[in-house]
Amino acid sequence: MRNKEEGFHVYEYAIFAGVTVLTFALCVSMGSVSVPIRDTITIIWNSIFNTPIPDTIASPSIILSVRLPRVVCVALTGASLSLCGGAMQGLLRNPLADGSTMGVSAGASLGAVIAIVLGIKMPSLPFAGTMVMAMAFAFVSLIIILTLAYKMDFSLSTNTIILIGVIYSMFVSSILSLIITFAPDKVKHITFWTMGSLAGSSFDNALVLLIALMSFGGVIVLNARELNAFAIGEDNARHIGVNVKRVKLVVMICVSGLIGVCVSIGGTIGFVGLVTPHMVRMITGPNHRRLLPASIFAGATFLMLADLVARILLNPLELPIGVVTSFIGAILFIYIFYTSRRKSHA
């Protein structure tokens, strides 16, 4: 019997990585200001090898300081959010679970806003206060939502969790509006927290995202087999010997951490974690050993493209990126909901 290795072969990784790199190149060379592709390559090439960029090229700083860090941040955020979505869907055996549908992202943004308003800061690290509060609130939100769901419906059915997630999001956004009304000056524009934006991202942001993805995301990927068991059912996972309490706690901490970091840097970008794992599952199947790595690449690709649309659709105006992802995500949500309902009635 073949199929000893359930994970990817090297060439399969190469395909996913190749598509992601091509998308990355496309998104760096396209933008509000058009820079010829040859110039773009020259700019990046020369700056990597530290050779001077010829004066004939108009604006290297647009590529190097504005577009490149933004696209990198977008890719890392997309990868992180998709990974979180895939992990939560497996953990809860719920194809509609996602940071935004469950209210975890909303919770994280509440934490970030509270940190900003109260001026919670860590010495030496300017953004750490916001980030830690976002992570903590994401985790607490997840616990609250799941506890409420357990109380109402012990089997944790798909609909109960989503319903509670939606109600929780509304509750959080009302508190958010309240805080922003009282302290409008210190807090970012409300659309940042509800629709997200990665405009003005820096390489520092990218580094933080990368570290979060490597650490939290790495732990999630290493729990792929356990997530397979959870995706089949929590009881089944326990029966085959998974330490369900520990795995659940570890995955929830990592998901909250990753969502917290993403939200504190890019605001709430909805539905990314719903859209990409769903599309990836059509290609790889539900096995998390393939689904999770593929979601990382696909999430990066998807969000880079969504951001590209946000950047160039109404040029020179810019759309919030969440408008694009939510537009696609909401349609897909209804589709998944509809098909899964039909399946369960059949």
Binding site: S32, S59, S61, V66, F192, A199, N315, L317, L319, P320
Partner: protein, 317 residues
């Protein structure tokens, strides 16, 4: 009918004298000089084209919009103010007046409890339903609607009539016109430099003021070209576009709250902006007091600050 004319005007940028004529509220107040027992009737057509009649001088006013408050103080009628919108913050004395909620959160009961004769509000953030509710409570509503500098003159003149301060109002309008005339005539002849107005900083997503804004109008008056004159009104714009359009001057109206870098310092330190002319020359102006964004007599001050910033200090008359 007047409303439609005004809306039409806002799309045109140059000032034309004919519009002044049309926009001036038709004032029919005729002080009855022969009998002193009877109070003069005041009739004002407001900027939404509504006719408002009042039996006598106005002594109790609630103004919801910051510019209306400022105009009241400017014409010397500040003491009539019994309530102000929560965002009215100029001049300093206005903060002693009880604040009421405004905009979408307008609380009609709160306004009624202050027992005003007249409520001044702006079409900018109030609705017709709110007007109707106040009128049903027996309170007269006078609506202002300033979309360009001519509109500001109209509003000053209208409020002057309403408060029986016509002479004061005309003095202010003349003074504004003088300032603008002086600055624009001094500014002509310079080569056309570009300016970028930053309404919201990068951290919150860049927003700028485009065509049809006071900033745009004053920039043109001073012989400057707004980088984003191709955008209508205020809009979220791409950071890349600002760098590409390479403004000679940057004006930011971002607020500074006493911590972190000041708005102009923050712009100076933005990655990728180092080759923007304004950043290279340090030509960044931070306006903290809405001098260029609020339709008030202070627009003239704002224009002067901007002129000084661009052309160097001028001698005051």
């Amino acid at each position: 009918m007047l409303t439609s004319v005004l809306t039409g005007c806002s799309k045109v940028n140059e000032m034309t004298p004919q519009k002044t004529f049309e926009q001036t509220p038709s004032v029919k107040s005729t002080p009855d000089s022969t009998t002193k027992t009877k109070e003069p009737a005041i009739i004002v057509t407001d900027m939404a084209g509504r006719e408002v009649k009042l039996d006598g001088p106005v002594t109790r006013v609630v103004a919801l919009f910051p510019s209306d408050c400022e105009i009241l103080y400017a014409i010397g009628a500040g003491e009539t103010l019994v309530g102000r919108g929560e965002y009215c913050d100029y001049p300093q004395e206005v903060l002693d007046v009880p604040a009421v909620q405004s905009g979408a959160n307008t609380n009609i009961e709160q306004i009624i409890s202050l027992n005003p004769q007249v409520v001044l509000m702006s079409t900018m953030d109030q609705t017709e339903e709110q007007v109707a509710a106040l009128e049903a409570a027996g309170i007269e509503v006078v609506v202002s609607k300033e979309t360009d500098i001519e509109g500001v003159y109209t509003a000053i003149s209208m409020i002057g009539t309403l408060m029986d301060k016509n002479i004061e109002a005309e003095t202010i309008i003349e003074s504004m016109k003088d300032t603008f005339f002086e600055l624009s005539s001094k500014a002509t002849g310079n080569e056309e430099k570009t300016i970028y107005f930053e309404v919201s900083p990068l951290e919150y997503g860049l927003w700028t003021a485009g065509n049809g804004t006071f900033m745009n109008e004053i920039a043109q008056m001073l012989g400057l070209k707004n980088c984003f004159g191709d955008i209508n009104g205020w809009g979220a714009i791409s950071e890349e576009q600002v760098i590409e359009r390479n403004p000679d001057y940057i004006v930011t109206i971002a607020m500074y709250f006493g911590e972190g870098p000041r708005p102009e310092e923050e712009i100076m330190n933005r990655a990728g902006w180092e080759n923007v002319t304004a950043v290279k020359n340090g030509s960044i102006l931070n306006l903290q007091n809405d001098e260029l964004s609020r339709p008030t007599p202070r627009l003239a001050d704002g224009a002067r600050i901007l002129y000084d910033f661009v052309y160097g200090s001028t001698e005051l008359d």
